[in-house]
Symmetry: C2
Subunit: 159 residues, 2 copies
DNA sequence: TTAGCTGCAAAGAGTTTGCAGCCTG
DNA sequence: CAGGCTGCAAACTCTTTGCAGCTAA
C-alpha cells in the first residue's frame, strides 16, 4: 500500500537523498522539484520550464533537464515516451508506484490506470519466457476518445 | 489466425497498395522493403541502412526514413521506442499482427511474446475507463536477463 | 573554501525537409 | 512527359555538454 505524501514530505525526502549522495540542494532545484510535484503527471520539459519560469525566470533548459535526470536517477520521477517525440515525466514518491496509461491519439490527453490482474499475469509471462528479473513494466493503450473537442474527429477536414 | 506470408507476397501487397494510392515503386524502395522483411524485427534505421547499402550503396538516410514512413502509414511496419533514443521498426503483414516485448536493460536484447489473456483483460480496462475506441496496445517488460554475456552483470565494475 | 551547481551557448543525436535532377508509369 | 522519387545537405527538434562564474555546505 502506498501512502499519499505531501509535497513537502517528498521535497524533504529528495533533500535527504541529495545529501546522502553528497549533492547540494539549491534554490533552482527546489523550485523545479516543487513545481514538478505540484503539477500533474506526464509533464514535458517544456511545460515544466514554462511553469518554473513564472517563479524563477532566469532558469534555463539545462537545469530543468539536469534536475529531472536527478529525479529519475533517485526514483522520484519516471520517464515516459508516448511516441510524439518528447519525453514526459511522472512523479513518483521514491518507492515503487506503478501505473499505466491510456493515450488519445487525437488530443494527446492521458489517463492513468492500474490493474493488478494484468500485473499478476505479466509475472507469469516473464517467468514462462526465461530466466529474467522483471525491472519494470510499461503498458500503453492508444485510443481515440469520443470527446467533443478531440481533434481527431475533425482530422480529415483540417490539416 | 494470421497466416505466414512469404517475403515476396508481402512485397507484392506493398506494390499493390502503393499503386492504389497513386504512388510508385522504385528500385530503392524494393531493396529497402525486401531487406526490411528479410531481416529480423526491431531494426533501427541505421541498421537497415547499413544492410541496404550492401546491395545499393548510394541509398541515403532520407530514402530509408521516407520508405519506413510509407510502410508505417500503410501498416506494413510498426514503430517502437524502447527508451534508448532510437525508433525501431517491426514488420507487419498489413493487417493486425500484434505482439509485445521483453527488453533487457543490460544487453538491449529484445524478445517477443503475446498473451491473449492480457489482451482480453485490456479490453475490459478500456471499457471501464470511458468511451474509447482502442487503437493499439503496447506492453513492454523491462528486465535484467541472467545471460552470461549480459553487460549489466558487469555494470558496476565497468563505466 | 571548494565541490558542486547554474546559465548560456554550442554541440550532438535522430529525424525531416528543400531542391535539382532522375525515373517510373 | 508529368509527377513522383532520390540523394545530398541543410534545417529542425530534443537533449546533452563545456565552461566561466556563482553558491551551498
Amino acid at each position: 500500500m502506498s501512502e499519499i505524501l505531501s509535497q513537502q514530505e517528498v521535497l524533504d525526502r529528495f533533500h535527504a537523498r541529495l545529501g546522502a549522495s553528497g549533492l547540494k540542494s539549491t534554490q533552482q532545484r527546489d523550485v523545479i522539484v516543487a513545481k514538478f510535484f505540484e503539477l500533474g503527471r506526464h509533464i514535458s520539459v517544456e511545460e515544466l520550464l514554462e511553469e518554473v519560469r513564472r517563479t524563477a525566470p532566469r532558469i534555463g533548459y539545462a537545469t530543468v533537464y539536469r534536475t529531472l535526470k536527478l529525479l529519475v536517477e533517485h526514483r522520484f520521477a519516471t520517464p515516459r515516451q508516448f511516441g510524439d517525440g518528447q519525453t514526459r515525466f511522472d512523479p513518483a514518491d521514491g518507492d515503487d508506484d506503478e501505473h499505466d496509461h491510456i493515450i488519445c491519439l487525437g488530443c494527446r490527453r492521458v489517463l492513468e490506470f492500474s490493474d493488478p490482474t494484468i500485473t499478476v499475469r505479466i509475472q507469469g509471462v516473464v517467468a514462462a519466457q526465461g530466466d529474467f528479473e522483471l525491472a519494470r513494466q510499461r503498458l500503453e493503450l492508444y485510443v481515440h476518445c469520443k470527446t467533443e473537442d478531440c481533434p481527431h474527429l475533425a482530422a480529415s477536414k483540417h490539416r
